[in-house]
Point group: C2
Chain length 361, copies 2
Amino acid sequence: MRTYKRPRMTDVALLAGVSPATVSLVINNRLSGNVRIPPDTQQRVLAAARSLGYVANPVAQSLAGARNRLLGVFTFDAIFPVQFRDFYYPFLVGVEHAAEELDFDLVLFTSTSTRDGRRHLYRQGVNRLRLADGAVLLGSEEDKEEVQRLVEEQYPFVFIGRRDLPHGRISYSAADYAAATQEMMDYLFDLGHRRIAYLGAPVVTESALDRRRGFQEAYRQRAIPLDPQWIWLHAERNLTAVLGTFLKQGITAVVAETGPFAPLIVQSCHELGVKLPQDLSLAFLGDLSDELPWELEATTFAIPRQEMGAAAVKLLAELLAQKDVTAVRQVTLPCRLSLGNSCTGPRTAAVAGVDLLGRAA
Amino acid sequence: MRTYKRPRMTDVALLAGVSPATVSLVINNRLSGNVRIPPDTQQRVLAAARSLGYVANPVAQSLAGARNRLLGVFTFDAIFPVQFRDFYYPFLVGVEHAAEELDFDLVLFTSTSTRDGRRHLYRQGVNRLRLADGAVLLGSEEDKEEVQRLVEEQYPFVFIGRRDLPHGRISYSAADYAAATQEMMDYLFDLGHRRIAYLGAPVVTESALDRRRGFQEAYRQRAIPLDPQWIWLHAERNLTAVLGTFLKQGITAVVAETGPFAPLIVQSCHELGVKLPQDLSLAFLGDLSDELPWELEATTFAIPRQEMGAAAVKLLAELLAQKDVTAVRQVTLPCRLSLGNSCTGPRTAAVAGVDLLGRAA
DNA sequence: TCAAGTTGATAATGCGTTTTATCGTTCCGT
DNA sequence: ACGGAACGATAAAACGCATTATCAACTTGA
């Protein structure tokens, strides 16, 4: 076991009878107006390099270049979660593709201690992200304060998914949930529905807010009256009871956020003896990772996860390339509607019947 | 808008009113016999670092010959392949877990150019892996020469999956395919089978060789005669024809490597009118990512992918901790048999009947 | 013949750490 | 009062390369 030493630039220089600078210039082909090396000298250098098996030390190269071509990937949950596998994976595929294309390597921040089982940007007040030139952030429940601090430290980063800070804006690549939701609503309105309810989780993430905004905007644009009670953010009350109330109120369609209770909705309908989609049209504001307990193909829209991941990396690369790395850049990507057979036109008979039971029109 | 620069050690030193050396010593907690920094100075340094958001530049650390607690992950294919998603993912889960536990961050080498669509360790002769303290290698069709070169450069790495080099051995964490295959064979022998065929791909990867070795060893240990023709490495010939020949020869069970043609075997059996498992027992030497086109539950064995990933990281960490980082360490993990209902005892009648058609016993 | 380019190449500096020998000071025991 | 520890901290070299201003020598044109 002897300590091996790679040949260095000076070794090549010595052998070729030139200076290290010359070697660097020749090897990297950095010959411009003021620096010129005649072809025969170049050949001499290259021959020397070859004969020694010389390869540049990338670490030294990075150090001399002031940038290390490393992009961080930070998730507020485990990066490769076992249960959410289908959630993160497509983002990472996009991130990897873009990084590969742009010649960046990726740093996965796994060491960041997990107090309370979640990841944190700072440990002992130190921002380990700084190890990379910039970072892509990802995760459903980020810590706003940590993100805010990142901004203050002028660290370049891009979020995957729209994020707003109490003070100021940040860069992100997002899916246009609002537009997609509105499009979904238009589809339902066009089918003839006039009373469409919204089912969601009682969270205030940006993505949820976007969907709700799209929901309300669709009503507004058509000048169709919207009862605030038709927006139900699932918390303590019984889902079956709520659906029952909806039906009594003449609701003929429901749009629902995706998530753990999506299957429960279908189940509740079964319990109520509601025929899908004849009695109730069901559309989901996102794509469903799990199969639903039914035989229908759900009407959903596809979140462009892979594209979002790639876009975030590209945005970040652009930030790093320009003078002001703290500039805010935002990209919004469209979602593609996927029409299954879980929606159909409302039965007029049912509507009439329900109107008798429901509130005054 | 001013161009942002990462805070450097000198910035911290200036703010704390000490020398860069002191900062380094405090931050890395390198206080030994001869070097001492009193607690209050330490606090001052740490406070300064915190307030600037300072974190050491890993590139500079590497250059200075120190460790940066970065572990590389290199795959010879895309890290997040779209089609082989189920293949790499479990390894990565294990890698992530272990890295998190051991306080390492991960570098995904995505930048390495893909001539011919595959990844290469060297681009223009440059080995970018050196950015990390060591690396975990992964991928089904590695380039032996590149790996050999890595060894020569004395770069510490661990392969996931057994690998042998023409000259010399390397570190790996592997699954014990040989033992698992042998166990599977014993299971079939115990069921009463005496003529078991092997179906595989015409490749010479270590994992395939291990399985074939286990296959032959099982025959040898029981002193049951093995016709070399019963080992069929699928290349040009028609799978259905081969299975037909097997049956004529009195074969009552087949063990098959997993892979793209696993479903084809079942299909061929259907074509031949072979009843599974009554006419032919079928066992797979690995786990099946895709569902097979049948109603049975396949008898397989589980490759401990997650454990392999974690073991590789732990091995690497151990290597890095010891004096000689080029030492060879190998770990072999057992596979767990998963008995479905695709295997059963041979029908004695059929065996007798076949003996008439087949070769002399 | 001389000023003005052109050519070929280099010296010097910077990149951001780690590491170790060394140095001045204070303290203690006798 | 003095030699020797213990203390606190630093200077300086090393790591291997990239960049750029500069320089000597050689041409060229008038």
